[in-house]
Subunit: 181 residues, 2 copies
């Protein structure tokens, strides 16, 4: 019937935070924090990892007892061998994929997973295929710029973080510990 | 000189997460989590508070030992008296303002502060006046839709969260515990 609300239902959501602005990973970490507050089982898988970036959230997740799995390039950007990087990304996805299907997690973050897909190291269709077989109530939040259309099509909730104003270019302010790192 | 990068400097940032999309408060909570991970002193002040919403982050902040200060309407929406609401908002801002100037906090979240400003209960100029006197290294992150232009003008970093796709309208899915509540 027109105008009738569909019945409310509960299900695990596939969430994407994309766009060029700040806050994509930060909001996903906030989501993990919220679920952790409810004693849900949460885990973060990171596909790109600089050596110093995101150190604040690693310290926080360690304090919270939340697992962080390095996938893809792992903990450094030292490799300049694309075949090695592609291999690491595929290996990282295999680990993440097994974890998704294990039934052990309520909420999983796939941080910066859009990059290995954009680089051609992972297929969006493989990611979707695994997500479609995940436990019914499991939430998965993916982050990164330029989320592939296929993934957006599949997701339940997609937010674009758009930069309105940024201090670095204008004021020469460097990234600040605690709020961005 | 054109093309010369300004010297890097450190300073406390005024950050705004605005827009109609999800993730404004969630990203601010992620920021608090990151700073908490670095053992910085963080606090959340909430200007609008439904009775059941955001319960997940309250549980998380309690587990983390982070203070949450109810301001404005406080913990319920039960009041329908606008004068009472306005008074609460002003009282809430007085508390927040004293905390900002106390020098005790490294990072403060002013959650949904845009609403009492939009309702005319707080003046953006008063908020800016207090922020301008805060400790130099203190970060303040403000959230809410329709951030006033004056506040955006004053802020260092502004992100708009834009809704690309949302499950409720399309699929009749209700808000999910752990990821949104």
């Amino acid at each position: 019937m027109p105008g009738t609300r569909p019945p409310k239902k509960h299900k695990g959501l596939v969430i994407i935070n994309t766009g060029d602005g700040k806050g994509k990973s930060t909001a996903a970490f906030g989501m993990l924090m919220r679920a952790w507050g409810r004693d849900m089982k949460v885990v973060a898988v990171q596909f790109i990892k600089g050596e110093t970036s995101k150190f604040g959230e690693h310290m926080a997740l360690a304090k919270m007892g939340v697992e962080v799995i390095p996938a893809g390039r792992g903990f450094t950007w030292t490799s300049h061998d694309l075949d090695v990087d592609a291999g690491k990304a595929r290996h990282g996805w295999k680990i993440a994929s097994d974890m998704i299907l294990s039934g052990k997690y309520d909420v999983m973050m796939l941080d910066e997973i859009t990059y290995p897909i954009r680089y051609g190291w992972l297929e969006a269709s493989d990611v979707i295929e695994t997500l479609s077989r995940r436990p019914e109530m499991m939430h998965v939040v993916m982050t990164g710029r330029n989320a592939p259309e296929e993934l957006i099509e599949y997701a339940d909730l997609v937010t674009e973080m758009r930069l309105v104003k940024h201090p670095y270019a204008e004021q020469g302010v460097t990234a600040q510990k605690g709020v961005e790192l």
